[in-house]
């Protein structure tokens, strides 16, 4: 009974979360130069515009070029740090912890300015590497917080068991700890990616010459915003849906085949 209520509740929450999509996808098909909802007439012109406007395409690609490595770096270092923080006790741990989460405490505009001044000295302005670093730093606190929450519950004798049976610290992590914290690591990787994918202010500062997707959209917002942005979002949503669907399909196929064996 209460399960049913809970599922209904979840459906509402999901609907709420998905509302922007339900708006954005129709908008992407409007034939108007405004974000018109509900659309009065339909067209594919904004999709055409997206694929013809090399700016938008390049911006999308650049966002991935930045976001994926940034997410990997942030998740890797963040997870390691979470392990270090939950496993050791040392003087000054509080300070290290504060340092770990401070990148999201300091307003992005201040980080952006500070990083610009530093990157200027290091000649990293406008380099992808610089922005990847910057976004890794902004995303790392997520990994630290999310992963350490799960680690607090983790039964460490499992790690002991792995160690004594011949796994070094790294393999212990990989074979035993990691599977247990995988949901958290996964969550933090996803969030890290989207932190970068949606980050505007630092990107505005430290990039020059190239634009990430949020920067491109921000430009539009200054003067005119047209439904291309909706088309971009719709394409990304479609791509992930297809990608994930395909992945699940392949996975179930693979497990079925394994079972048949």
């Amino acid at each position: 009974m209460s399960r049913i209520l809970l599922s209904i509740y979840f459906a509402f929450v999901a609907l709420y979360l998905l509302t922007p999509l339900l708006i954005v996808i129709p908008i992407s098909f409007v034939d108007s130069r405004f974000l018109q909802f509900p659309p009065e007439s339909l067209s594919l012109r904004w999709y055409r515009n997206y694929f013809e406007d090399s700016d938008f395409l390049d911006a999308t690609i650049l966002s991935f070029i930045i976001g994926v490595p940034a997410s990997l770096i942030a998740t890797t270092l963040g997870t390691l740090a979470a392990l270090g923080l939950t496993r050791t006790r040392f003087f000054g741990k509080g300070i290290v912890y504060a340092l770990m989460i401070s990148p999201i405490v300091v307003p992005a505009i201040i980080v952006a300015l500070a990083l610009f001044l530093l990157f200027a000295q290091l000649d990293l302005i406008g380099s992808n590497f610089g922005l990847i670093l910057a976004h890794s730093i902004l995303a790392m606190p997520f990994s630290v917080l999310i992963v350490s929450a799960t680690l607090e519950h983790f039964d460490t004798t499992l790690e002991r068991a792995a160690r004594i049976h011949g796994a070094g610290p790294i393999r212990t992590f990989w074979y035993v700890t990691f599977p247990a914290i995988r949901p958290a690591v996964f969550a933090s990787a996803i969030f890290s990616f989207f932190i970068s994918f949606d980050e505007l202010i630092v990107a505005l500062f430290v990039m020059s010459g190239q634009q990430t997707l949020p920067v491109r959209i921000w430009q539009d917002l200054r003067f005119e915003i047209d439904p291309t942005v909706a088309a971009v979002a719709s394409i990304l949503i479609a791509l992930t849906t297809i990608g994930i669907g395909l992945g699940t399909l392949l996975q179930t196929r693979a497990t079925q085949r394994l079972k048949q064996k």
């Binding site: 998905l18 390691l80 340092l99 307003p107 980080v111 500070a114 979002a233 699940t248």
Partner: protein, 328 residues
């Protein structure tokens, strides 16, 4: 190594090696020093045996070089402009606007965090307890909105909440109201938009802790007389709280620095401290004052987060306060 004059214990190790050549005469000395050498060796070994802190090194180095150092450089401006001055801080507190905006920001942020907790926690619970086959699909649904840029999402709320938007059209069609109800450009709209942005964080952080909770404990609670609800309240909830707590902290911190969404969907009063900082940096080039506001924001965020942690820890009675952590 034996030429190193620095550390007395290192020297003693060297002497031990040499003295064995020097022979019997120094035997008594040798014994003494060997003990000290051993102590050093043991110390070094213990340090390296406890490898866990090594894990912190990459993150700490990265943060020190690319975050703490430049930030401190910038923050210096709030008190040295170019000579030592407290003018910026005085200004912040002498004009009522700034503390007021700060207070507004905290209030808005607190409500957003609370809403995320209230809405997100049951959803995460559902996710953690649902049949594991459909779980990936549900998680996927929750993550899907992240592909839509926050800027664009703000616009989509216009289409929902606006005077001629989805909800008002519906209400008018149903005859609930004749005049559109103002929803867009109110603080309520800010909550709707911000919670939508932050909610996935709450759900996933809570979920990732919830799935790890040992079901046997719930069984134990039940058989000991707890109704499903109380088993949840006294066992599941406290055990799951670390996830929700971290989710709340993340959301709180993020929201404190947020300003674009409130500016786009909020009313005139929904001004965030982030707006002021941007204005000082971008429009007035008054970086000293901007740094001062930033520092104040930083300090207040940290204080509130510490308070939040403290309260949440206190809310979980008997939470392990002192754990003995041993190297693994």
């Amino acid at each position: 190594m034996c030429t190193s004059p620095g550390h007395p214990d290192i020297k003693s190790v060297c002497i031990v090696e040499r003295s064995s050549v020097l022979g019997e005469r120094q035997n008594f000395l040798k014994g003494n020093l060997r003990i000290r050498g051993h102590a050093l060796l043991a110390f070094v070994k213990r340090l390296t045996a406890d490898q866990s802190f090594v894990l912190l090194v990459p993150a700490v180095v990265l943060l020190l070089i690319f975050f703490a150092y430049p930030l401190i450089q910038l923050m210096k401006m709030s008190v040295f402009d170019p000579n030592f001055t407290t003018a910026h801080f005085e200004k912040f507190f002498s004009r009522p606007v700034y503390p007021r905006v700060l207070f507004n920001t905290v209030k808005l942020t607190a409500i957003v965090t609370l809403l995320c907790f209230i809405i997100g926690y049951p959803a995460a619970y559902f996710l953690a307890t649902v049949r594991s086959r459909i779980r990936p699909f549900l998680i996927f649904l929750i993550l899907l909105p992240l592909w839509v840029s926050i800027l664009v999402r703000s616009y989509s709320w216009m289409a929902v909440l606006g005077r001629e938007g989805l909800i008002n059209s519906l209400l008018i069609a149903l005859g609930v109201t004749t005049e559109p109800i103002p929803m867009l450009y109110t603080t309520g709209a800010v909550y709707v938009a911000m919670v939508q942005i932050m909610l996935p964080i709450m759900i996933l952080t809570s979920y990732s802790v919830m799935v790890e909770i040992d079901n046997g404990l719930i069984k134990a609670a039940r058989v000991l007389g707890a109704s499903p609800f109380r088993a949840f309240l006294f066992v599941y909830f406290p055990l799951s709280l670390s996830g929700a707590r971290n989710g709340s902290i993340i959301i709180f911190i993020l929201s404190m620095g947020f300003f674009i969404t409130p500016a786009l969907v909020g009313g005139r009063k929904d001004l965030m401290i982030g707006n002021l900082i941007v204005f000082q940096i971008e429009e007035l080039l008054n970086w000293g004052f901007a740094s001062a506001i930033g520092l104040i924001l930083l300090v207040s965020t940290v204080l509130i987060v510490l308070m939040l942690r403290f309260i949440l820890d206190a809310a979980t009675p008997g939470a392990p306060k002192r754990r003995s952590k041993e190297p693994v």
